[in-house]
């Protein structure tokens, strides 16, 4: 009997372990007293874990931004970045299973946030909201994103006081056909009626400059695979030149006029694939495309090895340095006659990502104060990324000259030449390395600073506009109806299509749709790449047929139907928001 008892005891002990392992910690939240004002100083130094779905840097926040946060909140930020860790949602899932995602959480609205709220992993910040004066300026957005959950679990990103029917982007749209203007000029400003006309023009440009200054071969087009999702990311980009943006497997036009499945026979997605395929046949596509990552590509742009960019924040940001633009070299938007570029309207109720406080946070009050600060003018100027035009802290990179902000010498060095050494009293180190690694804009940089009456983004300041007049911009402007900026040119020529910022979040996929989607998208991405690098037109067509067949077999139609319904909901919301704010 003894042995049987022992066996029974061991078995039940093991079973208990099993039960424990299967359990997730419950949402035990004690009541917290409401606060109406945050303390101005904090005695004890703490380090918080920031789970940041947007960050591209993992580790302690260093440099001037780290020092700023330390001085203000006596707090250090330990950034946990799934983007750096890789493996998709693995890190998210493991941490969630362990019951503690982080003290400060930056994640997506919709499925992920809902799951976190249901699982009790995020804190209801209602007790602190009374003290969050800066966040409260955007109360409508805060209220909207917390509408369904009933608490104050999340805080919005990208809020502003700009109308949702206005572009949210500032000087340049998010997408656009940017070419190396100096070479385009040398090629004799070829006429570009439509997308496909870019090919002969790019070919000519590549012939003019077959090798970059570093001795490497130049290619008109270079691609990368890091951001492939529902479709091949790079193949979506040309469709945005005609007003489309993705929503699942749907390409939806900004004005709600057209919805396409990505695998529609004569659709825009296949047109883009054909465009790249033809480019490859002409020898315009970098053979490294299949294996390189974004970082490698960025370096290639910096070195002048790539001549076409579908994003200004890639080509221009990497290549248009002071030295290059002074010599007339740089990326500028090409005059594609029939383009209607997709532009994101300023989101009325915030962007896709949200900020939230983890339920296991040691000092939630301080984190709430920190979140609130991100909405303040000082926080906005410091936290936004410099590629978005964030001006940085006053006194370091810029100062007020009378009632107008101007860049300091240090600021000019940073923003025009790429980087500079930060003075010791600001924390030292490189300015760029010391910028905020959070990579989230609480407030849109193009919004106007209520304290000073100028936009947060230095790129929109008159003093900066005067500063960056270069041979490149003058030549571009002369050839583009004397436009002052890209947005100016596009607006004048009605070549921009603003999708009202409706802050739409697609509902979570049901588990069945999600499974089907994951398999279909893997197939779409795989075949898209193969089609671009197909040896012949015939192979391109046969791969295309095979893609459509396989995707159909895996349930593409079912997912498309679901996405189509979402796309229409999104459009209804856009119309509604445009009416309400417009």
């Amino acid at each position: 009997m003894k042995l049987r008892k022992k066996v029974a005891a061991v078995a039940s002990a093991l079973a208990t372990i099993g039960m424990l392992a299967a359990c997730t910690p419950g949402a035990a939240q004690e009541d917290r007293a409401a606060v109406s004002e945050f303390p101005t100083s904090w005695d004890e130094e703490i380090t918080i874990d920031v789970f940041d779905g947007l960050a591209n840097y993992q580790g302690m926040q260093e440099g001037w931004f780290g020092k700023l946060v330390k001085d203000k909140f006596n707090m250090k930020l330990n950034i946990i970045a799934p983007n750096v860790a890789g493996g998709g949602d693995t890190l998210f899932n493991t941490r969630v299973t362990a019951g503690d995602l982080g003290d400060l959480i930056i994640t997506d609205q919709g499925e992920k946030l809902d799951e976190l709220i249901a699982g009790g992993l995020v804190l209801d910040s209602a007790p602190y909201y009374g003290a969050m004066d800066d966040a409260a300026r955007f109360d409508a957005a805060v209220a909207r994103i917390n509408e369904e959950s009933g608490g104050t679990y999340a805080f919005p990103s990208q809020v502003s006081s700009i109308k949702p029917t206005e572009p949210s982007e500032g000087l340049d749209p998010t997408f656009g056909p940017y070419v190396r203007w100096d070479l385009y000029k040398e090629a004799g400003y070829p006429q570009l009626d439509t997308l496909e006309d870019l090919l002969p023009a790019l070919q000519k440009m590549q012939e003019i400059q077959p090798t970059a200054p570093n001795g490497q071969k130049t290619y008109a087009i270079s691609l990368f695979k890091d951001w492939d999702g529902n479709m091949m990311n790079n193949a979506k980009q040309p469709t945005t030149f005609y007003g489309y943006d993705e929503l699942g497997f749907v390409l939806a036009k900004a004005d709600g006029e057209d919805y396409q499945g990505i695998l529609d026979e004569d659709g825009e997605y296949f047109r883009a694939l054909k465009f790249y395929h033809d480019a490859n046949a002409l020898g315009l596509v970098d053979p490294d495309s299949t294996t390189q990552n974004y970082d490698t590509l960025w370096t290639k742009y910096q070195n002048g090895q790539v001549l076409f960019s579908f994003w200004p924040w890639l080509g221009q940001a990497a290549y248009n340095t002071e030295e290059n633009t002074a010599a007339g070299r740089g990326f500028m938007i090409a005059p594609l006659q029939d383009q209607t570029i997709f532009s994101y309207g300023a989101p009325a109720y915030g962007g896709k990502q949200v900020l939230a406080i983890g339920s296991k946070a040691e000092d939630p009050e301080r984190i709430a104060a920190f979140i609130d600060w991100l909405y303040s003018p000082e926080g906005t100027l410091s936290n936004n990324s410099q590629t978005m035009g964030a001006a940085g802290p006053e006194g370091l990179t810029w100062e007020m000259d009378g009632d107008e902000p101007v860049l300091t010498d240090f600021g000019k060095e940073v923003f025009l030449n790429g980087d500079a050494e930060v003075p010791a009293e600001w924390g030292g180190g490189s300015y760029i390395d010391g910028t905020s690694a959070l990579n989230i804009s609480a407030v849109l940089p193009i919004d106007v600073d209520p304290e000073r009456g100028f936009p947060y983004s230095y790129k929109l300041w008159p003093s900066y506009q005067a500063l960056i007049e270069t041979p490149l911009s003058t030549d571009w402007s002369t050839n583009m109806d004397d436009a002052s900026t890209t947005i100016d040119y596009l607006t004048k020529n009605e070549q921009i299509m603003v999708a009202p910022g409706a802050s739409y979040t697609a509902p979570a996929d049901s588990s069945e749709i999600e499974t089907l989607r994951n398999q279909v998208k893997a197939t779409v991405v795989q075949y898209s790449w193969q089609m671009i690098f197909a040896e012949s037109e015939a192979e391109f067509d046969s791969l295309k047929a095979k893609l459509q067949e396989t995707a159909d077999g895996l349930g593409y139609e079912q997912v498309l139907e679901f996405d189509m319904a979402n796309a229409e909901d999104q459009n209804d919301l856009r119309v509604e928001v445009a009416k309400e704010f417009g």
């Binding site: 009997m1 299967a22 998709g88 299949t290």
Partner: protein, 345 residues
């Protein structure tokens, strides 16, 4: 098992503890006529004590086996749920056999799994087919007379075994990428104008993958054969030499047959691992172009579960692997029974 009558005690039946206790009660009730017998039983009981102690000795291992081989089977329960990490298993929706139905739901899906199994088996069989290489390598290496050269070759060929697959891929990448060494040399020599795509092509994926693992495992695999060779009786060679056998004849008629038992054991072990060809190698080498032929079962499970973020579906596919393994085991067992008249399990 506790219902066994006490009479059975002395006739060599395997005794359980409860049996012993019952037996004791029984002897206590019975009177002297069988005192002698009782004495003997007591002795026997004393003799059984060590066996119980021995049992205690193996208990830790039983517990470990239970914990690491049977307890994880509990995880199969995830395949019946729509598991969401934040909600835990209790909070997740019970979906019954939905994932299994999805697996066989469409012909394309079935074809995809079929392709994955084909890849798995093909790469495994190529691996088994190449398992004679370490054997041959060991035999030839053994014939090298200069010890320093032998040592050097052995070290150099064993070394790759300790390089992780990620680093192997780095090597492969710097050699074979479109800007790699091989393409560089070929285009400098004027043999090609467009770089040859070695890594991102769908041609001969199974063979190239096998070659990489042979390169990595050759020296390591030879170690066990070298050890076996050193155990072969020298007299056999001397006798053969006197009989006029040449060097190759000695290798063929003595070394090879002497190594066969070792080889067969290793072969059997690798058959048992047919579906376990791991995933690291294929994970690092996979890309859009070779995916169709490189996706082995383990990698497929990873791609669905981790990259595709569906742990429940991945569990369901993983169970498939267990089922096939059990089927394989019984097949091999059946063959062994017929051939040797003795079963393995």
């Amino acid at each position: 098992m506790c219902d066994r009558p006490s009479v059975g005690a002395g006739n060599g039946d395997p005794m359980t503890t409860s049996g012993v206790i019952q037996e004791l009660t029984a002897t206590g009730l019975e009177e002297s006529p069988k005192a002698e017998q009782a004495e003997r039983r007591r002795k026997q009981r004393g003799g059984r004590r060590p066996s119980f102690t021995m049992f205690l000795v193996i208990v830790p291992f039983l517990v470990l086996i239970f914990l690491f081989s049977y307890f994880p089977l509990y995880g199969w329960i995830y395949s019946l749920y729509d598991y969401k990490p934040a909600l835990g298993l209790q909070g997740s929706e019970f979906v019954g056999l939905q994932w299994f139905q999805l697996l066989v739901g469409s012909p394309t899906q079935v074809a995809q799994i079929g392709q994955v199994l084909l890849n798995t088996l093909a790469i495994s069989f190529l691996g088994i087919a190449t398992s004679v290489l370490p054997l041959a390598f060991a035999i030839f290496l053994n014939e090298v007379k200069a010890p320093w050269f032998r040592g050097a070759v052995q070290t150099l060929t064993t070394l790759p075994n300790f390089i992780s697959w990620v680093l192997v891929y780095m090597i492969a990448f710097s050699l074979f990428s479109s800007t790699g060494l091989v393409n560089g040399v070929l285009s400098d020599m004027g043999l090609i104008t467009v770089p040859v795509k070695f890594l991102d092509s769908d041609e001969n994926v199974w063979i190239t993958m096998t070659l990489w693992s042979v390169w990595k495992g050759l020296g390591w695999g030879a170690i066990i054969y070298l050890a076996a060779i050193s155990g072969i009786d020298r007299e056999l060679y001397e006798a053969a030499e006197i009989d006029g056998a040449g060097r190759f004849q000695r290798m063929w008629y003595i070394t090879v047959p002497q190594l066969m038992p070792t080889y067969i054991v290793l072969l059997l072990l690798s058959v048992a691992n047919l579906l376990n060809n791991g995933m690291e190698q294929y994970y690092v080498f996979q890309n859009a172009f070779n995916k169709e032929h490189i996706q082995v079962l383990d990698l497929y499970v990873y791609n669905i579960g981790m990259t595709g973020n569906n742990l429940s579906m991945a569990t369901a596919i993983g169970m498939l692997k267990s089922l096939i393994s059990v089927a394989l085991l019984f097949t091999v067992n059946g063959i062994a029974k017929r051939v040797r008249g003795q079963s393995i399990v």
